[in-house]
């Protein structure tokens, strides 16, 4: 059975927000929203779980610190102890203070790059990937709401289309995905 996806397009973010609230209030599941800018509060309206990107950032940061420690220990303590300004260079602990800036920078580097790459992979927007947005205008000044019929089987199709009509969309498009 082919799955039907409804894309309702709006020209104003407030209209979309109100529409989404109206639909959710009537037990309709809105699966996603495409927007050229962040819409504050939309995720809680359509029931998207909070992002776990922050947790990955923390893990990447920890990885960064550990990598930096291992690297510096090998480079500056074991392999080639360098005497810089007469600072202790016999153990990582004694010389820790002078390495803190490097730890810090490497943590930030790992966290930032890890987060960015995770974000791109998770959203399937790595360079060269086919675009997922239903309409190129959602990168300009239009807002699109995505409703899957498979998620709304508990509502009759006629009721659903009436509910969507009530939200005052600009254009509507139905696509069948096999």
């Amino acid at each position: 059975m082919a799955e039907k996806v409804i894309f309702a397009m709006y020209d104003d973010d407030d209209k979309l927000m109100d529409g989404a609230k109206h639909l959710v209030a009537n037990d309709v599941k809105v699966s996603d929203v495409y927007s050229p800018m962040p819409l504050h509060g939309i995720d809680s309206i359509i029931g998207i779980e909070p992002t776990r990107l922050a947790i990955t950032a923390f893990m990447y940061g920890i990885t960064g610190v550990i990598l930096a420690m291992i690297g510096i220990r090998y480079m500056m303590i074991i392999d080639w102890p360098m005497n810089i300004g007469g600072k202790p260079n016999f153990s990582l602990k004694e010389n820790m203070l002078s390495f803190v800036p490097i730890f810090f920078e490497f943590t930030v580097l790992c966290a930032a790059h890890g987060m960015a790459i995770t974000y791109l992979i998770r959203n399937k927007t790595l360079p060269g990937m086919p675009p997922r947005n239903p309409d190129p205008r959602t990168t300009d000044d239009k807002f699109v709401m995505e409703i899957k019929t498979s998620e709304n089987t508990h509502i009759k199709e006629s009721v659903l289309s009436k509910l969507i009509k009530d939200t005052g969309f600009l254009e509507i498009e139905e696509k069948s995905i096999v």
Binding site: G41, A54, G85, K87, S98
Partner: protein
């Protein structure tokens, strides 16, 4: 929403202050002037003292030592006179009339060689053990201040007055700064909290009065927190001539110091009063005219603050160690000031919110103040570490002495302050949920609030008390006294005006603030 300070709040705050005052008075009479002990061998200890003590006091100390070291036969030898020191005990009478600074470099007041013999012959093995530890015991007692003179200069009292004066002045100043920043950046989110900022900054006079007392007494030579105030140090003919302080004379001299002090305090007080009056006026008039004058005046204040916050921390704190300097010091103080101000805002907000006086303050406002506490903790830690690491790394003697003093004599406090003020906010405020939970905010907020009090303690004490610092009733009492008075004054000034700015142009935005 109107707030009236409740009887209970009045009792708690003023009760804390009164209890603090009692502790303070008890602690005041426990101030010690330490004697230095050096173990010569297992049977003898050298005792040395540099301050003032006439013969009577010296004999009293001898008696205390004898009574504390019971079980031993003590013999006192005056090792200073055997060293051919031509210093007679009768000198003390002449000296007590002259300037107190003058005798400090003439050598110690007394130097005793104490020989320990045992009086007790009963248990041979126990005596042998005791005998060996006797010298150590005496050294330990001198180090811990168990045998010491009463400090007639009240150095601990004056240093604590400076610490608390600066800390609580800083909280009020931090609130004033943030209020000005809020107006100058035309922020919307925090409008519902602005009256709390106003309340906290109105408690500024408490800190100012304490600081003024410290400065006035210092100017007239009542204490020596600011060594550069001593005219002997900049007199090339004096035996105490200090070329480094002489080189800084153009900035560090009493008339210019007072010009600056007056400039700071009048500027802050005038802006504070002006902001408060204008916001009251805005409540009555409405419109945007007053808002834009406040916007311009706040920007002007920030210009003054940018200069004054730096020079102020040099004058109040950095000039204690007049030989030392750090270009980061102003920022470092400022970050602490701002953070302690934000913590106070958070505490007062949570308190009022719990009492139901702030129905218009939602979770997002609390979250945002929490973010400030988190971010400013990092700013403070960053500056602390930058200052420490650069000086540690370059290892220039005149700079690094500042930290060697702190690491040698204040080790746990010095690093403990950093760990508490950095790791606690980092670990506990990283998550979004903890920044919205009153329990976390109160517990961690209190911890770093006390941590920042100790930060000021670490800035002041090593330069005034050196290794003779103590944490006792005096410190606790003074802190409680100031805290009680400060919170009372904040709540009192909050009950004088409504808790919501009625006609602020961004009020609606702030009420609906989310995230």
């Amino acid at each position: 929403m109107e707030y009236k300070i409740s009887e209970r709040a009045k009792k708690v705050t003023l009760g804390t202050a009164v209890l603090g005052l009692i502790f303070l008075i008890i602690g005041f009479f426990q101030q010690k002037d330490f004697v230095y002990a050096k173990k010569v061998d297992n049977h003898s200890v050298e005792l040395l003292y540099n301050g003032h003590a006439n013969l009577e006091a010296q004999n009293q100390l001898k008696e205390t030592i004898i009574s504390k070291m019971h079980g031993y036969n003590l013999e006192f030898h005056d090792s200073m006179h055997s060293d051919n020191h031509h210093k007679e005990p009768s000198n003390h009478h002449e000296e007590s009339n002259s300037h107190p600074e003058e005798n400090e470099h003439h050598g110690p007041t007394f130097k005793w060689l104490i020989h320990l013999g045992h009086a007790n012959q009963e248990n041979e093995s126990a005596i042998l053990e005791n005998h060996e530890s006797g010298a150590d015991h005496l050294v330990e007692m001198a180090k811990s201040g168990e045998i010491s003179f009463f400090d007639h200069h009240f150095r601990r009292f004056w240093s604590n007055l400076l610490v608390n004066g600066f800390f609580f002045f800083g909280i009020a100043l931090g609130a004033l700064f943030y209020l000005a920043l809020h107006y100058a950046t035309e922020s919307g989110w925090g409008v519902v909290l602005l009256r709390i900022f106003e309340g906290i900054m109105s408690a500024m006079p408490i800190g100012i009065i304490a600081l003024l007392i410290v400065f006035i007494v210092g100017t007239f030579g009542g204490h020596h927190i600011y060594a550069w105030m001593d005219s002997h140090l900049v007199d090339p003919n004096s035996s105490h001539f200090d070329p480094i302080i002489y080189g800084k004379k153009a900035y560090l001299n009493i008339p210019f110091f007072w010009i600056r002090i007056v400039a700071y305090f009048t500027t802050f007080i005038l802006f504070l009063r002006w902001f408060k009056n204008k916001s009251k006026e805005e409540d009555e008039q409405g419109g945007t005219k007053i808002h834009f004058t406040m916007y311009r005046r706040a920007a002007l204040f920030l210009v003054f603050f940018a200069v004054f916050s730096s020079t102020m921390s040099w004058d109040f704190i950095m000039s204690i160690d007049a030989h030392w300097f750090s270009t980061l010091f102003g920022w470092y103080c400022f970050s602490g000031i701002w953070l302690s101000g934000m913590i106070m805002v958070m505490m007062i907000t949570l308190y009022l919110r719990k009492g139901g006086y702030l129905p218009f303050v939602n979770e997002s406002h609390i979250h945002d103040v929490g973010k400030f506490m988190f971010a400013l903790s990092f700013l403070w830690s960053y500056l602390w570490f930058s200052q420490f690491m650069l000086i540690w790394y370059s290892n220039i003697p005149e700079e690094v002495i500042y930290f060697t003093e702190r690491i040698n004599n204040y080790n746990i406090l010095f690093f403990g302050t950093f760990i508490v003020n950095f790791f606690f906010p980092m670990v506990f405020f990283m998550s979004r949920d903890t920044k919205r939970s009153a329990g976390f905010l109160i517990v961690i907020g209190m911890l770093i609030f006390i941590g920042h009090w100790f930060d000021v303690f670490n800035m002041v004490m090593p330069g005034t008390l050196f290794d003779q610092w103590e944490l006792g009733l005096l410190e606790l009492g003074m802190f409680m006294l100031f805290l009680g008075l400060f919170v009372y004054s904040v709540l009192n000034s909050l009950s004088k005006s409504p808790l919501l700015l009625k006609n602020h142009p961004f009020l609606e935005e702030s009420k609906h603030h989310e995230y």
